[in-house]
Amino acid sequence: MAELNQDSGKGGKGGKVRSKKNGGKVDLTAMVDLAFLLITFFMLTTSLNKPQAMDVAMPDKDKTEKKEEVLTADNRSVTVLLGSDNKVSWYYGQINAPIEGPTVAGFGADGIRKVLIEKKAYVPRVSGGKDVIVIIRPSDMSTQKDLVDILDEMKIVDIKRYMIAKISPEEIDVLKRDNIYND
């Protein structure tokens, strides 16, 4: 350790009492305390957790034609209707003649994700190698959380083709029947 004040005054000429030299060493404890306090402050106020941005692309809007429906092959399309209470209803095919469903499901690994994974593997086998199309139809009773959750599932399951579309009155009836259209 660097001790600067080790001179004990021995061997001084004439036995003069020398005043002890002091001031070679400063107590830095308080300074370190202060520095760490400031570090803590700046660390906590820094916005390290920047928000995430989930990119969404909507189809071009055709303002001249009122028809918004996009026709998709029956055996390729899985439609997910977003209802209330964090529940969805899904069907495979068309609403008037569904091949499977409509069935109510929740979010997460045991809910709609299982269905999507299964359909993602199943559809190419029946449609000659073409991949599944997922149509997301949020109802007026669904929330932003539901929409973000279902888009997140698309990312997790890695579904390449999906779109957000308008819900039809028949589909709202399905949600009402299954009691997931509550305010």
Binding site: V32, L38, I39, F42, P51, M54, M58, L82, P138, T143
Partner: protein, 219 residues
């Protein structure tokens, strides 16, 4: 023989190195930090597993929350000022230089154009009180009544013009067109989100981002 005395080591520790390190860290944090701004209109965004970060600049953020209240703001100050200039000529509302200076400091705005002058004249802390700013009017048209449509459009034009002005600078990097992000409360119902999305689609802003929080890989 006298006992050999064990020399006691000094109990004081040399703090010099520790002090050096702590001040190095301190200066690092001081220089890199951007202080967390108190949010003008706090909303609780839903979580997602998306890993893409929202850029710091060149973004127009539409905030939706509190049962359909819509706020709009740009991240860059020069874009904000230019946007207000354009809005002022579209709606025939005149602003003073002081108003522009105030507006440059506002993170976002959530009031009809008619009332914007009163809000700018207020103390910054008063503006955020409940009931002062009740949201920008949104409807399904492209007319002046859909003020959000006009805000987004003018902000995009303002950003494009500012980019053009800076083009001659030697170290200019084109940030591209203004990105639009929607920051909506998780509990917000779909109709109010849909109104905003349709407003964006009406001006062919078909690509946008939802701002979300971070969630662990699986729940």
């Amino acid at each position: 023989m006298g006992k050999a005395k064990v020399k006691r080591a000094s109990t004081s520790i040399d703090m010099t190195a520790m002090c050096d390190v702590s001040f190095l860290l301190l200066s690092f944090f001081v220089m890199t930090s951007t202080a967390k701004q108190p949010e003008a209109f706090p909303v609780d965004t839903p979580a997602s597993t998306t890993k893409d970060k929202l850029p710091d600049s060149n973004v127009g953020i539409i905030t939706i929350g509190d049962k359909g209240k819509v706020f709009f703001g740009a991240t860059d100050r020069d874009v904000r000022v230019k946007t207000l200039e354009k809005m002022s000529s579209r709606y025939g509302v005149q602003f003073s230089q002081q108003d522009y200076d105030q507006f440059a400091l506002m993170e976002n705005v959530g009031t009809p154009m008619k009332a914007i002058k009163q809000v700018l004249a207020m103390e910054p802390s008063k503006r955020l009180e409940p009931g002062v700013q009740n949201g920008i009017p949104v409807d399904s048209t492209e007319a002046l009544s859909n003020e959000l449509y006009q805000w987004v459009q003018t902000a995009r034009l303002a950003a494009a013009e500012l980019n053009k002005e800076k083009e001659s600078n030697r170290d200019f990097v084109d940030p591209g067109p203004l990105k639009i992000a929607i920051k909506a409360d998780g509990a917000e119902k779909y109709p109010s989100i849909n109104a905003v999305i349709e407003t964006l689609r009406n001006q062919k802003q078909n690509k946008f981002s939802f701002i979300t929080g971070l969630r662990a890989e699986d729940k």
